[in-house]
């Protein structure tokens, strides 16, 4: 915007001069008027439109045609005009939410006029219909539980198979088919439930649509990779120890790859570092968790104790790598969450760090104080080792549970968790003043309430009140809303496209009587945070 400013200013000046000439010469001052548009202003559309059509009362030339979609990014619209009609192709696909299309056209008198059309794509705002936009708690709980179950299953099968193949001299101990079947069911259930969440439904049956939806992004592929990993680890593909080792390593790699595809950490920048860290973090976590049940079994029995010794010697290196990768991810993620320490994301992170700290102490205790005496056959040390591995399993469960919460606590969830506070503004004019309060709504729109007062702070009864909105910062041309007289004497409107308060200026237009209009103008204060 700012980059175009000198050009724009020059154009304005030229247009003014041209307009002046017209005024002197012909005396006609006929500005173009928008007569109709499709979508119409304030339309609520279930499907995002591909085109926008504007019809004016006379032939116009497009100077600027742009839009601000729900993501807040301003984009140009390519337009073709045929006389009084302008067709624009909206850059798609449009995300659900409020779209503001702004136009600036020049009519025959050379005077530019601008305006905006606002429409809403997707679900209407939660309060304007019975359709609930609030995410289904039951569905989210189900997704959470299923994710915990499938992640633990994946770790026990894939990580356990890796442990058995590489560390256990007894060779490939097959995973229980029943456990594999349960894990596969959980992965499939997770796929379906996440698809349901994507299409905005509660728990229920919606035929194949959720599956199609899950495959529209990377969720589907990730879940498929998990299935492949479970099958590789659980099925007797390779009877010989050497090939079994390879298969189990492949299974672990495939399962870890699945984690790099989803989750908001995977889109942190620089991407390859983020995804590499996730891969490492996931692979080691799966291995560690998967090793715990066989270790527990070993510590109980009188079997060959060498795996325990191997594990105890080996684990510090991957464990430190896992911590480092996790730390790197957290550091990469933190700048993207607006330092929102009260957000769910940060709380989950803090909780997880706490659990990992306890785990570290337990691991150190295991490694340096318990393992050697336990291997030497000290019964008290063996008992404590069993107790310690059991606690590690409990901690693993809690860590997986916490990590699975992240799906609901990405940086983007921050906005939902913390609706912006209401903004109020006092506007003072020569004949009247206004108290304005704007309340941002969770759906990205805002409600407004205005009280009109006389200069002596008495309530005033104007004939009508309308609100002009403009955002020069984001190139949004003037929008005008007629306010409705609420029962309590204030004037109100809803569904204003103000997901972000910054840069908006307001013009409260108070019609005192037929011939007297008062403009009360001001800028919305930008949020405190």
């Amino acid at each position: 915007m700012a980059r175009n400013f000198p050009l724009w200013a020059t154009f304005c000046l030229l247009a003014r001069v041209a307009g002046l000439f017209f005024l002197l010469a012909a005396g006609a001052d006929a500005h173009a008027v928008l007569i109709a548009s499709a979508p119409e202003n304030n339309d609520i559309l279930t499907v995002a439109p591909e085109k926008i059509l504007l019809r004016f009362n006379e032939a116009v030339r497009v100077v600027r045609f742009s839009m601000v979609a729900a993501d807040g990014v301003a984009r140009e619209i390519s337009a073709s005009s045929t006389g009084a009609e302008i067709k624009g192709s909206l850059p798609g696909p449009l995300a659900d939410g409020t779209v503001i299309v702004s136009y600036r056209v020049v009519s025959e008198d050379g005077h530019p006029v601008g305006g905006s059309i606002v429409f809403h794509v997707g679900k209407p705002s939660p309060r304007s219909s019975s359709v609930s936009d609030i995410p289904s708690k039951a569905l989210h709980t189900a997704i959470w539980l299923v994710t915990i179950g499938s992640t633990l299953g994946l770790a026990i099968i894939v990580g356990g198979s890796f442990f058995n193949c590489w560390l256990s001299p007894a060779g490939a101990r097959r995973q229980s088919p029943a456990l594999a079947a349960v894990a596969i069911m959980l992965v499939l259930a997770g796929l379906y439930l996440q698809g349901l969440d994507d299409i905005g439904m509660g728990p229920g049956w919606a035929e194949l649509e959720p599956i199609a939806q899950a495959f529209a992004d990377k969720t589907g592929i990730a879940q498929c990779l998990k299935l492949v990993a479970i099958m590789l680890a659980a099925l007797p593909f390779a009877p010989r120890p050497r090939s079994a080792r390879l298969v189990s390593a492949t299974a672990l790699a495939v399962a870890s790859l699945a984690f790099t595809l989803t989750g908001h950490s995977s889109i942190a920048q620089p991407r390859f570092i983020a995804q590499g860290s996730i891969f490492l973090h996931a692979a080691i976590s799966l291995f560690w968790i998967g090793s715990l049940p066989p270790l527990l079994r070993l510590s109980r029995s009188t079997e060959d104790q060498r795996p325990l010794r191997f594990f105890s010697r080996l684990i510090p290196i991957p464990f430190v790598l896992m911590l480092l990768a996790g730390l790197l991810l957290a550091v990469m993620e933190i700048p993207r969450i607006d330092i929102a320490w009260s957000s769910l994301f940060a709380r989950v992170l803090a909780f997880k760090i706490g659990l990992v700290a306890v785990l570290c102490m337990l691991a150190l205790y295991n490694r340096f104080w318990l393992t050697a005496p336990a291997l030497a056959g000290n019964p008290a040390a063996r008992r404590r080792l069993r107790w310690s591995i059991g606690s590690e399993i409990g901690l693993a469960l809690l860590i997986v549970a916490a990590a699975s919460l992240w799906r609901f606590a990405g940086p983007e969830q921050y906005q939902y968790a913390h609706a912006q506070p209401p903004v109020s503004l006092h506007l003072h004019g020569q004949k009247a003043m206004a108290e304005l309060e704007m309340t941002p709504q969770p759906d990205g729109t805002a409600d407004i309430r205005v009280s009109i007062l006389t200069l002596k702070f008495d309530p005033m009864q104007p004939r009508s009140v309308s609100l002009g909105l403009r955002n020069t910062l984001r190139g949004i041309e003037s929008l005008k809303y007629g306010l409705t007289h609420a029962g309590d004497g204030t004037w109100a409107a809803g569904n204003l496209p103000l997901s972000d308060i910054a840069g908006w200026s307001v013009d409260v237009q108070v019609l005192i009587d037929d011939f007297n209009l008062v403009h009360l103008e001001g800028d919305l204060p930008t949020g405190t945070d």
């Binding site: 005396g27 001052d29 008027v33 928008l34 119409e40 601008g114 007629g482 809803g494 007297n516 403009h519």
Partner: protein, 175 residues
């Protein structure tokens, strides 16, 4: 339901608010104390709808207003008292027309017409005063355009979507 209705009303307003075909006065200047022929030029209806009524507020300081009758339109003349007494050709005047209404006609959106009245700017008006003449344009289907915006300090009529037509009062040339 009420919310939906409100949204619809807001929507209608929104389209109406964006840009206008201005109503203007033909002569940009009037001489203080002399009759001024005000020609209101109406180049468009409201949002494409035909104009059916033009209401003109005669501002304070414009004396002995007289509308010019117009074929196809009926006139309504509303009298009132001025805020103060003015001297007109040596006589004090304290009342006169304060509002003129042309109605009953039909001016399509794609047609142009002029509405004429005569006024005398009071000699008491300071020289180089800009006089704003608020006009309300009413159209079919209840559509209304109010050409009543008077610029605040530091602004011009161009800053408004529906500016009131205006002219400047200049001092009588000495002869």
């Amino acid at each position: 339901m009420i919310r939906h209705l409100a949204l619809t009303v807001a929507g209608i307003f929104c389209i109406a608010g964006s840009a206008q075909a201005h109503i203007t006065l033909e002569q940009a200047e009037a001489v203080s104390g002399k009759a001024y022929k005000a020609v209101l030029r109406v180049g468009h209806g409201c949002e494409g709808k035909a104009t059916v009524r033009i209401r003109v507020k005669i501002p304070e300081g414009l004396l002995s207003a007289k509308p010019m009758p117009k074929a196809g339109w009926t006139l309504e003349k509303i009298r009132g008292t001025y805020e103060k007494s003015y001297d007109l050709y040596g006589k004090p005047v304290k009342e006169g027309l304060t509002e003129i209404v042309w109605q009953g006609g039909q001016l399509a959106d794609d047609e142009y017409d002029e509405f004429v009245f005569r006024v005398t700017p009071a000699k008491e008006l300071p020289a180089a005063t800009r006089i704003y003449v608020p006009v309300v344009q009413e159209c079919t289907e209840g559509a209304v355009e109010r050409w009543i915006d008077i610029p605040a300090a530091g602004k011009t009529s161009d800053d408004y979507e529906t500016p009131a037509p205006f002219f400047d009062v200049v001092a009588q040339p000495r002869s």
